[in-house]
Symmetry: C2
Subunit: 149 residues, 2 copies
């Protein structure tokens, strides 16, 4: 379809050096991101899983089932995580008037406060991003969009 001689197409067969380097770099960024996320969560006495779940619930209340889908894990696993957050008053289970089987998990005001504080303490990508010029940030955004699209 495209370029006559080389470039642009990279069929999984033989990874070119550029792609390899980018993969390597992404690996490092992922590692740092995770590190920072975990330690920011720990500063708020949360585990990574608890922080992710709480952040989700701060956007909107969700039934346990949907929560499991978002977190890509089994619903039975979500039960325990919500249990622990509920025991600390950061989350509560509400009955769903439309379907008495489902329990909707929602962040409490305290939970939202903790989540906000958590979000603000996340320097993970902000700090390294500060070292980039606007042009570089735009290029980065476009490349990332392309990867996800």
């Amino acid at each position: 379809m495209a370029s006559p001689t080389s470039t642009t197409r990279n069929p999984a067969g033989r990874p070119d050096p550029l792609t390899l380097e980018v993969v390597e770099l992404i690996g490092e960024v992922v590692a740092r991101f995770h590190e920072d996320y975990e330690s920011a969560a720990a500063e708020h006495a949360l585990t990574g899983a608890q922080a992710r779940l709480l952040s989700l619930l701060c956007l909107e209340p969700l039934p346990m089932r949907r929560l499991a889908q978002r977190l890509k894990c089994e619903p039975s696993n979500v039960t325990g995580i919500v249990d622990r957050l509920e025991a600390r008053g950061l989350v509560e289970r509400q009955p769903d008037p439309a379907d008495r089987r489902v329990k909707v998990a929602a962040a409490t005001p305290e939970g939202r406060r903790v989540a906000r504080s958590l979000r603000e303490s996340l320097r993970f990508a902000r700090e390294p991003l500060a070292g980039l010029s606007d042009d570089e940030r735009v290029a980065l955004r476009n490349a990332l969009r392309g990867m996800l699209g």
Copy 2:
């Protein structure tokens, strides 16, 4: 020091929309990366932690202590992971002739084979990267380098 009116500098104070979007995008890339890594590991009957440790040992044998440093966890944790890999013949503990306290973990030939197969099955970043042009890949590489520098 730098730009007169705006751009380039972004002191953590007020995150601009561009930075916010990039942070969001990085979050998604990180999530996908992790997903793919875990499932690639699972295809080889490895957990994520086991896959990371085995990959490290394929570069060079390492004492338990250093392994813990690389994995950013406690040495007592490494004991168990190496135990399980050793039970499957993928890793072995060797005595260090220079210091009888230390045990050096090394990948076995079988371990190296599994690790190679694992590495090859990692489509995580390769596939999304395939959708990018060379120019975009170069821009992405430069931005990532900038973030890590």
